[in-house]
Amino acid sequence: MTGSEEASISVADSMAGAEMRRASVIVDELAGCGATHLIGLPDNATAVLFSGSPAARLGINPVHAADGGGLARLTVTREGEAFAIAAGLWLGGARPVAVIQNSGLLESGDALRGTVTRLGVPLLCLVGYRGYASLGGSPTERECREHDRAEQLRSRHLDSVAALTEPTLAAWEVPFELYRGDRDVASVGRAWRLAERRRGPVALLLTGALQ
């Protein structure tokens, strides 16, 4: 092995270790809340929560992220499946968590409405916030004038998925909170408890903290 190869692996190890730590913070919180399953279609930001994480590929044996921290995991083919499966898990006495990206969230509106919301399932949804950085510090854009909106959604500087995420959640009456990193760890339990009180979905928007 050359020196540069060793250096590359060392950097990869370091990056993987950082991912693992960030994921473990969330998984620890979920386990403390009583979560039993992670169901979803993770993106780059949340893949470490599922199997095949960098740590697993590197042969590390982490307590949480590679084995789910005791949480059973299932990857689905479409985000709507995740909500319906989560509803079924809850009917069966389990306490699932959904893990999806915001683009999948937009795709799965009727599944969310017809299962989780309609059945009254307390469900924490970890949502990868694709394009958050493109919002330029104005995440909600709620103050934008209506006639500017369509032009903004066509802009090459803006990820339209990101621009529509928070307004969509608001329209669907799904409370949400940002998770920007370890400093927001308390938001996991807070969102979990809110979902229980409301008997409905609550979203935690991951702004890329696990990447």
Partner: protein, 198 residues
């Protein structure tokens, strides 16, 4: 081609007391005429095409129970990826029956794309279901039912049935089925409790 009665009556007779049965769309009302179990869940007035997902979730949460899902062909087409997810899940206690009536019956009988031409059993087999059955005659279905209910799961069953004329599913105190007399949210709580305590 079977009638719905030829499909459902034998199933009701072979259904174990602690089996969970998830129904949707055109099968909800015919099944309610045969079963009033606390472990019946009508995925009605709910999301389009997600009854099989719901059933999978129950099966995953309760691997000690047999979960039978009576799905529609239109519903199955809306969420075909579920077939792969079911296999991926490793759930062995799920029996997914697709009732092929080739119509969106409760919304007016509009034809389902590919109705009568699409081979659901072949799709399920390709997705990796270990046990796959297809029936177009009542006699063959009757003969195979006991063994398919105990086959290595997950089990996929397609059954060709005559389209009926079930109308929209209603909920209210006047409905025959106990699970249609309440909101789906209230029944969800009762069902969850019944499953936990049974």
């Amino acid at each position: 081609m079977l009638t719905k009665a030829e499909l459902l009556q034998p199933l009701a007779e072979h259904r174990r007391q602690n089996d969970v049965v998830v129904t949707t769309m055109g099968v909800v009302c015919p099944w309610e005429r045969l079963s009033q179990s606390a472990l019946d869940f009508a995925s009605a007035d709910s999301a389009m095409g997600h009854a099989a997902d719901l059933a999978l979730g129950i099966a995953m949460a309760r691997p000690d129970r047999r979960v039978i899902c009576l799905n529609g062909d239109g519903s199955m087409l809306m969420s075909r990826g579920t077939l792969a997810t079911i296999v991926e899940s490793g759930a062995t206690n799920l029996i997914l029956m697709v009732v092929e009536n080739r119509a969106y019956e409760i919304t007016g009988g509009q034809p389902v794309p590919g109705g009568g031409k699409l081979d659901f059993a072949a799709v399920a087999r390709a997705c990796g279901f270990p046990s796959v059955f297809a029936f177009v005659q009542a006699e063959a279905y009757d003969a195979a039912l006991p063994s398919l209910l105990t086959a290595s799961g997950p089990v996929f069953v397609s059954v060709s049935v005559e389209a009926g004329n079930e109308g929209p599913i209603a909920r209210g105190p006047g409905e025959e089925a106990i699970y249609l007399r309440t909101s789906i949210a209230e029944w969800a709580v009762r069902f969850r409790m019944a499953l936990a305590n049974s």
